[in-house]
Amino acid sequence: MSSIQLLLANDKKPGIKNYTAYRANGGYQSVEKALGNMSPDEVTEDVKKSGLRGRGGAGFPTGMKWSFLAKPEGVPRYLVVNADESEPGTFKDRYLMEFIPHLLIEGMVVASYALGANVSYIYIRGEYAWIVDILEQAIVEAKQNGFLGKNILGKGYDLEIYVQRGAGAYICGEETALLESLEGRRGNPRIKPPFPAVKGLWGCPTVVNNVETIAAVVPIINMTGDEYAKIGVGRSTGTKLISACGNINKPGVYEIDMTCSVEEFIFSEEYCGGIPNGKRLKACIPGGSSVPILPANLLLKTAKGETRYMNYESLSDGGFETGSMMGSGGFIVLDEDQCVVRHTMTLARFYHHESCGQCSPCREGTGWMHKILKSIENGTGKMSDIELLWDIQRKIEGNTICPLGDAAAWPVAAAIRHFRDEFEWHVTHPAEAMAGNYPF
């Protein structure tokens, strides 16, 4: 294990799900500190200093997001925690909420205090039904112990937290679709501007943050932002949860301090423990299904030949031509037996299914990408289909209301960019493609 464990330090402690054990292990000290000695603006300032970047995928600096929140007189403000976590390959938030629910609640109290919110919501993926009970239990306990509800710790600050379940749509993880859904409407993303910081939930200023982002506020306040910023490297400060899966020996959720290399992460016993059955590493999607896939050579070393590290800057080194993204921390490993065409088709099917259908490029484009990929996969594709595929993804990217369009386009673009030979092979070898006899 890496020496620095800020979020998962206590996850294996018995009874940590419950208030008593959580408190005994230092829980809720950040609430005491923030409400006791700090003004809301000082909390925000500390989060700014910490360099914490949003853990939901886009990596936007959290302190900055908080300071953008509009504060008109007499209008309520909201914190909404995004626990929709539906990106294929990403399951870190589930782990946090299931095993250390109080960490999220604690972070929410501090964050809500900083933002001046008196009502906050957790919008949770519909399939995480059992976790709803866990969170609600934690909320009850926090209330019973004076960390939630009216007049928290006698400091005159009130906060209620509600948990709302989604109904099984990936798009509802997009922050504005999430807000629509939370308001009881169809989860269609909104056009921006206005941004949620100005007009969010019920038309009021709102901050939407990822579960892990909010959880990280707890150690930041406990250790101070300056200390937190010393962990990690460059603009990748603090620790990051990575959910690792695919062809590895030890799938699971790991907390890393962002100084470890990709190679170490895949092959060390501390983390993924290498690839089963001594197979070769073929490719990897390092940040959840939406980010570009990288072939092994570009994964372990950047195009410049430098070691690639598990942090925001290093993973995106080389841009989309030769790099990828940290994304939501869903680390998917493919061994030599995997077919990239098939894999890309599976993702395309997912995005086709999950597009909300508002934007014509995304609604129709994701459908056609899926259809064309299926046809190539099945050995009925033409060479011109590869160009058409490229063309479609280019027309979707950047031309939609929300980033789901981009998320659907990037995997296809990267697959063609790095594995064009496999696509062409499918076209030229229809029978073998159909039978799944891949030469690579």
Binding site: I171, I191, P193, P194, H352, Q358, C359, S360, R363, G367
Partner: protein, 923 residues
């Protein structure tokens, strides 16, 4: 809901801000902060440079089609990003390239993608050559589609269930315009997008047909839809018209502008113009779809003279000769005052002016009244007494600027649908709204406060509101001090009342009244709207005065977003009174008994005129029954069906020596006439209507009068000339010129200068008009506080013992008053008959089930009507409409009238009920 401004509002707000620059194709232009790239580009380089599909002039930007994308760079020829121009605000100093090669390719590709799921059968499509998708596809140059045939939705079934609305979802391109139109414009929430992604599809209600859904057939969705996916049976948006004529709807006082399409002299469809100030692209189903009555086979097409109880076809000359000689005979035998005329608020200003001119100057009597008597006469009187002017003080657009509205005795979503839709939008945004009504109307359901009064207790409830405002010190003291008179006395009177007593009378919790009163008083700007639920009462005029008092006590007069705003029932109620169709005031509201004004009228018309007040409608009936009133001229009114106490009216009409009726159809009243003159409808004539906000708008003849008929104006002119006058043929321009000389607030009205959106009176000599009245002072100088004490209607004190239920009357969206027109359109397939609303508990007591026939009996008579069980009415209260002659609701209503304006009390009628045995069906 978004902060992005439409061009108009952006321009309105732009005057103070300093100019900012952005570049289009490297040329600098100033933009208006908040303006979208689309409006910026269109304003400077024309409408057609940037194509759009999901954008529509009357909807909020949505950003779903992405066809409007343009390249935006931060430096000249810099790294450009495609942005949807319809919802992206212009960024200062940005470089916009609306038609870069990359963008053109993008647009083409998007359309190509859209077309992969669209039937390629344009040639047989309803909207061929009139389709936005087709136009944009041609504009971006899509010729063929590169995609193989795939799964699509082209086999979706058509929905032809509805008399008006149709859909063919195989043509849908998922632009959401229909959904947004239904939500943002009508507020009906019928349409929504179901399914996700490729499976997205429009559904009505809970996946119903148009007919089964809650659709109110306003047509907003059909007009908004860029393809033929949603349309209507008239194919309104795609009809290839030989001519399009702009005119004004005749079905209510909102006064919506209509654009009527004709093909070779036949009316084919009606659309709503987006640039109309009154309705900006919206209408209700009456305005848009209920026009088929105009060439209905039952239209009267030749004059009829009754001989031996039978109508016989006659020529116009025969009819005129017959009438002229009969009128002369009656005048000689009984004097001019044995003759009278009832004008029509459905007709134009010019026709109303002529009608009173005919009765006054040719016949020589002030026995001229109009149907305003039975609707808004108390408004005119009550507002004249308090403010000096009997007209709405503000405009409907003020709904945009107000903070609170009070709707009293009005059901705008049915009676004034386009204004009603705006009010609903207002209330749905959570803004303060107070509804005072015995029924839980649609507005009441959305309102912050619903004061559900017992019918006939408006004076009591308003006094309660005034009491609490005074008691809580919530008056606007400086307004009272500077702008009004009579407050001290008024205040004392109000404070002397016992709230517990009034609480018992109204049946409304006094605490709720207090809250509502304070909400109205504390809003920075509050507007009140009232309808016939205020006026059609024995205390109608008093109620109007109290509404005016409420506005004055809170200082809600004389600026944007405030005022007292009567919702006029008929399209030209305002105009009929303005033009002098009242027995006590001539054109322009001058008192006929005042020597100075009398002299003025005599010299203007060059004839001797009576200087005493003539008969009001109810007085005409009584005089006829007494044998003193012998001849009545009716222009376009069905008094038998629409006036209260039908049997009384019939008896009066039967006692006349001459009844002349100008009509479109053989109405219940026409059946009793001696002569029927077939008139032309509003679609066949020109003139002006004045809507509820004093807006004088041009009515333009869409088609010629159908064969055999004449315009009402021409008929009056013909008979005037037959009886010795010398009027030129009917011509609104000439008549307006005459009117502008006698009606001061029409001083600057000229036919040629009215434009599409008309002018709000007073129109000064220089042609400038007036949006808001009483900004500096009242017509009376200071506003006059008028007190009123609640009194039970004699209808109840006399009859309640034997008739324990209170019946009140209402309107339904689909029909207009007697229904002579709307019952002859598709509207009749939507609403088939009058029904009686009855509370579930009462229904249970009387063993009445939904749809049963109920016998309703008042002191005047009995009728049978179908029961509709609903908690929209309280226990002990019933409500019904009088749209259908088969039901004849007005057999029941009473002759009680407003004490001051003689407006009948349609809204309170003591009745008893039982399950019908089916005996009293009117044949």
């Amino acid at each position: 809901m978004f902060e992005i401004s439409r061009p108009t509002s952006a321009i309105e707000n732009s005057t103070k801000v300093k100019t900012k620059i952005a570049y289009i194709n490297d040329t600098p232009f100033t933009f208006i902060p908040g303006e979208t790239i689309l409006t910026f580009v269109r304003r400077n380089l024309g409408e057609n440079l940037v194509p759009t599909l999901c954008d529509a002039p009357n909807l909020d930007p949505f950003g779903s089609c992405r066809i409007c994308s343009v390249d935006v760079a931060l430096v000249q020829n810099g790294n450009a990003k495609a942005m949807a121009s319809c919802h992206t605000p212009v960024l200062e100093n940005s470089f916009i390239y609306p038609t870069s090669g990359r963008i053109q390719k993008l647009r083409k590709n998007i359309i190509e993608l859209v077309l992969t799921d669209h039937p390629l059968d344009c040639l047989t499509c309803e909207v061929n050559n009139n389709c936005e998708l087709q136009t944009v596809a041609a504009q971006v140059g899509v010729r063929d589609v590169r995609y193989p045939e795939g799964k699509n939705h082209v086999d979706r079934k058509k929905d032809l269930s509805h008399p008006y609305m149709t859909s063919d979802m195989s043509k849908c391109i998922n632009c959401f315009r229909c959904v947004r139109a239904c939500d943002e414009v009508q507020g009906q929430f019928v349409l929504s997008m179901a399914g996700r992604g490729f499976d997205s599809h429009i559904v009505k209600g809970s996946n119903q047909s148009f007919f089964e859904s809650d659709c109110v057939s306003c047509g907003a969705c059909a007009q908004a839809c860029p393809t033929s996916a949603i349309s209507d049976v008239f194919e309104s948006k795609s009809i290839v018209a030989t001519e399009k004529t702009r005119t004004i709807c005749t079905y209510c006082g909102v006064g919506c502008n209509l654009e009527v399409s004709t093909v070779q002299g036949e009316i084919k469809s009606i659309q709503a113009p987006f640039d109309a100030k009154v309705n900006s692209g919206h209408t209700c189903l009456k305005g848009r779809y209920a026009f088929k009555f105009y060439n209905h086979k039952e239209r009267l097409r030749y004059p009829l003279i009754k001989k031996d109880g039978e109508f016989v076809e006659a020529t116009w000359d025969e009819a005129y000769d017959f009438i002229a000689s009969k009128l002369t005979e009656i005048k000689t035998n009984y004097g001019a005052d044995a003759i009278g005329g009832i004008s029509s608020a459905r007709c134009t200003n010019e026709e109303n002016y002529l009608m009173q001119k005919f009765i006054r100057t040719v016949i020589g009597t002030n026995n001229i009244d109009s149907c305003a008597r039975v609707c808004h006469s108390p408004t005119a009187l009550g507002m004249q007494r308090t403010f000096g002017t009997g007209a709405a003080t503000n405009s409907v657009v003020d709904l945009k600027y107000t903070d609170a509205i009070m709707v009293i005795g009005a059901n705008p979503t049915e009676g004034h649908p386009v204004t009603g839709a705006k009010m609903k939008q207002f209330a749905m945004k959570g803004k303060t709204s107070i509804v005072i009504d015995p029924r839980r109307t649609e507005m009441a359901k959305y309102a912050t406060y619903h004061l559900q009064t017992k019918p006939g207790t408006n004076v009591a409830i308003l006094n309660m509101m005034l009491y609490y405002i005074i008691q809580e010190n919530a008056e606007d003291k400086s307004f009272i001090e500077n702008r009004t008179e009579g407050y001290a006395d008024f205040k004392q009177h109000v404070l002397s009342m016992d709230m517990n007593e009034l609480e018992a009378i109204t049946g409304v919790d006094k605490e709720l009244v207090r809250k509502a009163a304070l909400a109205y008083a504390s809003a920075p700007n509050a507007m009140s709207f009232h309808g016939l639920g205020v006026t059609e009462h024995s205390q109608g005029t008093f109620t109007v005065m109290l509404i005016a008092d409420l506005a004055m006590i809170t200082g809600n007069i004389g600026r944007r977003g405030v005022g007292v705003n009567p919702l006029r029932g008929q399209n030209n109620v305002q105009g009929a009174a303005d033009m002098g169709c009242q027995p006590h005031q001539g054109a322009g509201y001058f008192d006929v008994t005042n020597a100075e004004y009398h002299a003025k009228y005599e010299s203007f018309y060059g004839v001797k005129l009576p200087n005493y007040v003539g008969l009001k409608i109810p007085q005409m009936y009584d005089a006829a029954i007494d044998g003193k009133f012998k001849a009545l001229w009716l222009m376009g009114e069905d008094n038998v069906q629409t006036d209260p106490n039908t049997n009384h009216v019939k008896k009066a009409l039967a006692n006349l020596e001459l009844l002349v009726v100008q009509e479109l159809f053989m109405t219940e009243t026409a059946k009793l006439a001696d002569v029927i003159l077939p008139a032309a409808s509003f679609l066949e004539k020109s003139g002006t209507f004045t809507n509820g906000e004093r807006r004088i708008q041009k009515v333009n003849a869409v088609v010629k009068p159908i064969a055999g008929t004449k315009t009402d104006g021409q008929i009056i002119i013909d008979i005037m000339n037959k009886m010795g006058a010398n009027e030129p043929d009917y011509n609104p321009a000439i008549l307006l010129e005459e009117i502008s000389k006698i009606v001061p607030f029409f001083a600057g009205v000229k036919w040629d200068e009215l434009g599409d959106n008309g002018k709000q009176w007073p129109v000064l000599a220089d042609g400038s008009d007036t949006e808001i009245l009483h900004t500096e002072s009242f017509k009376l100088g200071k506003g006059q506080f008028k007190k009123a004490t609640w009194k039970e209607s004699s209808e109840l004190t006399d009859n309640q013992k034997d008739y324990p239920f209170i019946l009140t009357t209402n309107r339904e969206l689909e029909h207009y008053n007697c229904g002579a027109q709307t019952r002859r359109t598709g509207n009749a397939d939507i609403l088939l008959t009058d029904t009686l609303m009855i509370h579930p508990t009462d229904a249970e007591t009387y063993l009445i089930n939904e749809g049963d026939m109920v016998c309703v009996e008042s002191a005047r008579g009995k009728i049978d009507v179908k029961a509709r069980i609903t908690d929209e009415v309280k226990q002990g209260i019933l409500s019904s409409t009088f749209h259908y002659p088969e039901v004849n609701m007005n057999i029941l209503t009473s002759s009680v009238t407003d004490t001051d304006a003689l407006c009948p009390e349609y809204k309170v009628c003591a009745v008893r009920i039982r399950k019908s045995k089916g005996k009293y069906k009117v044949s």
